[in-house]
């Protein structure tokens, strides 16, 4: 097993920078997930670690050893591809054992290893078939089996579940989590699916335009995103945003915005908020005239286990609200108020950085009482 580190790694294709100055330490046995929108460079970063793409600048370190110039085959890694990349003309058994053929193992040794791996993945009944006769989920298992059989120090997964339907995806997700638990191997997993990221990861690396936006545990990313990008990327439905204007006198700051928004916050650092954000699940719908923001209820969606409400606050701002229960008798088109707890409020400055604010909850509650 091995640790992985990236030191000031950069890469450009032609004149287009794809990865810019990435620094990252992955501990032995950790499962780290790279997420980001498509084109953010997450797959390229994985290929840089694998050695499939040469780095432009910086170093890749595996198990304390600089491997920047070492070819992919000598890095002690295994790679599971998005398309599975099974050899279409070989049987499943040969697909899994192919890499062993060059290691000087005997036929029996190879067969034994292949059978063992196939049994773990429950594909031992498929060994004599060819890839095209298998379902997507079975192919996925073969691809993982091919990685397992080599007993690598690091596993790299490139969006391995993106070609599966949602049921299978959940099943394979659990399979991979189980695998990680039993092998305690270092794994790096690329996905654009934040559910996969949140459920699998020990730590998540959020990438955007070739840079790391934030590294943290799933909880850190959800509860304490460092910037607007991470706040908007993690969470579904995504966080509601609204541009605001703010006046500060010392640490006290009053924030004004559309929908009669008027808040007093206490900033714990420098900077002025220009935008606020609240997660849909942190919002509640208050009766008209109450709440911190007012808007028009535009649409209600009943998803069975939850309800989504869309409230238009300004012509170009519509917030989504996630409700555990049905809304009752509120008709669409009526005016409603939106409320939230102060600790659920995120403030962002002009550069998108999150501003810490200690909310004088008591004071504003007192102010409300006075007004009432």
């Amino acid at each position: 097993m091995a640790s992985v580190a990236l030191r000031s790694v950069s890469k450009s294709f032609g004149h287009v920078p794809v990865i810019t100055d990435v620094n990252l330490e992955i501990a032995d046995g950790e499962l780290v997930v790279f997420v980001g929108p498509s084109g953010c460079g997450k797959s390229t970063l994985l290929r840089l670690i694998a050695g499939l793409v040469p780095v432009g600048a910086g170093d890749v370190v595996i198990d304390g050893e600089v491997v920047t110039d070492i070819p992919a085959s000598k890095r002690g890694i295994a790679f599971v591809f998005q398309s599975y990349a099974l050899y279409p003309h070989m049987t499943i058994a040969r697909n899994i054992g192919f890499a062993l053929e060059t290691l000087g193992l005997s036929r029996q040794q190879i067969d034994a290893k292949v059978t063992e791996v196939a049994a773990t993945l429950k594909i031992d009944h498929l060994l004599s078939r060819r890839p095209r006769e298998l379902s997507g989920g079975q192919r996925q298992r073969v691809a993982i089996g091919r990685a397992l059989v080599r007993q690598p120090e690091v596993f790299l997964f490139d969006e391995p579940l993106s070609n599966l339907d949602s049921d299978l995806r959940m099943e394979m997700r659990m399979e991979i989590a189980k695998l990680h638990a039993s092998l305690a191997a270092t794994m790096i997993y690329v996905t654009h699916d934040q559910v996969e990221a949140m459920t699998l990861a020990d730590r998540i690396v959020v990438l955007n335009k070739g840079r790391i936006e934030q590294i943290g545990t799933p909880q850190q990313l959800y509860h304490a995103p460092q910037n607007r990008f991470v706040a908007g990327f993690i969470g579904s439905p995504r966080m509601n945003f609204m541009a605001v204007s703010a006046n500060a006198s010392g640490a006290d700051c009053s924030v004004q915005g559309p929908g009669n928004l008027s808040l007093d916050v206490t900033l714990s650092g420098p900077g002025l908020p220009t935008e606020i954000g609240i997660r849909p699940e942190a919002l509640s719908i208050a009766i008209q005239g109450q709440g911190k923001v007012t808007g028009t209820l535009e649409r209600l969606e009943d998803l069975g286990h939850e309800h989504l409400a869309y409230v238009r606050i300004a012509p170009d701002i519509a917030w989504s609200v996630r409700l555990p229960n049905a809304l009752g008798k509120v008709a669409t088109g009526t005016s409603v108020g939106l409320d939230w707890r102060f600790e659920d409020l995120f403030l962002f400055d002009r550069d998108g950085h999150r501003l810490d604010h200690s909310m004088s909850h008591e004071r504003s509650a007192a102010a409300n009482e006075v007004r009432a």
Binding site: R47, F81, Y87, A99, T102
Partner: protein, 298 residues
């Protein structure tokens, strides 16, 4: 039962292909039929209307002509060796160009040059380069001290067929490269990345992955090239005329037909060329099919 819609589609389909069929009957069907007919007559070219049917006599005459068998032998040697070299060389160049090499765009464009040149022109240029006294090839050979005096490439009958093969390889390898390159480009790249990560050495990647996946493309390319090589006329004719050392089946047939004016015998020879090529075509197509269905069964 056919619906009215189907009948209409049938009719308009026939309407669209009618010009094609008419032209093909005129330029291919009818001439072919006449050639087959003439092969059974004693006609001469200057007065083709005046002839009688002589049965298979012309075929017997061609088959008992040692020059014909020489032409068959030449064609067979030419086809086998040139297609073999072109396939191997084409595969090598395609793999080279497919990889990351300096100036890839330039190489791709440059490869097309020999292919675009008229056969006559290529032949003339090589004939000049291989000229025994003043050719640049012999100059280079003597200059590098590989031989005391130049080799009579074209003038020496025993080397003639070799020269024909050499020039043909130069002219048509680009075609092979283009087809194999196109086949390579539709192969999924991740498979090769997987092999790379798995530490499969290059020769094993080539033998166990690239070649099996490329086999259908190579098969089709070889089929095209073999059929083209079997009917080869221009290169050998421009280089050596009707010299028996480089005479192909097509040259033999045309020689009997036009130069000797023997419409009957020439047509018989042409027909034999046709039958031979058809036979080879059926054989290769059959082999390709067998291979493909065999792969599907396994």
């Amino acid at each position: 039962m056919k619906t009215r819609l189907e009948r209409r589609e049938h009719l308009s389909g026939l309407l669209f292909v009618a010009p094609l069929i008419a032209v093909l009957v005129l330029v291919a069907g009818w001439p072919l039929a006449r050639t087959l007919y003439f092969s059974l007559t004693d006609a001469y070219l200057d007065d083709s209307a005046n002839h009688v049917l002589v049965g298979f006599g012309n075929f017997v005459e061609v088959a008992s002509d040692p020059v014909w068998w020489r032409a068959v032998r030449n064609t067979a040697i030419f086809t086998t060796i040139s297609v073999a070299i072109e396939t191997v060389l084409g595969l090598a160049i395609a793999l080279l160009v497919h990889g990351a090499i300096p100036g890839r765009g330039l190489v791709r464009a440059a490869i097309l040059v020999p292919w675009a040149m008229p056969v006559v022109v290529s032949t003339k240029i090589w004939e000049w380069m291989l000229n025994d006294q003043f050719g640049v090839v012999n100059r280079a050979i003597v200059g590098l001290g590989l031989a005391d005096h130049g080799v009579a490439w074209v003038a020496n009958g025993s080397l003639l067929l070799g020269v024909v093969i050499f020039i043909d390889v130069w002219m048509t390898t680009p075609f092979m490269v283009l087809l194999i390159l196109a086949g390579l480009q539709i192969l999924p790249e991740e498979i090769f990345e997987a092999a790379e990560v798995d530490g499969i050495p290059w020769w094993k990647r080539l033998w166990s992955i690239t070649l099996p996946l490329l086999a259908p493309t190579i098969g089709v390319a070889v089929l095209f090239r073999v059929l083209d090589a079997l009917r080869m006329f221009d290169l050998a004719y421009v280089l050596a005329g009707a010299n028996v050392n480089a005479m192909t089946m097509s040259i033999y047939a045309r020689d009997r037909l036009i130069n000797n004016q023997e419409l009957g015998v020439g047509s018989a020879a042409s027909t034999m060329v046709f039958l031979l090529i058809a036979f080879v075509a059926i054989f290769i197509v059959g082999a390709l099919r067998l291979d493909r269905s065999g792969a599907a069964e396994r």
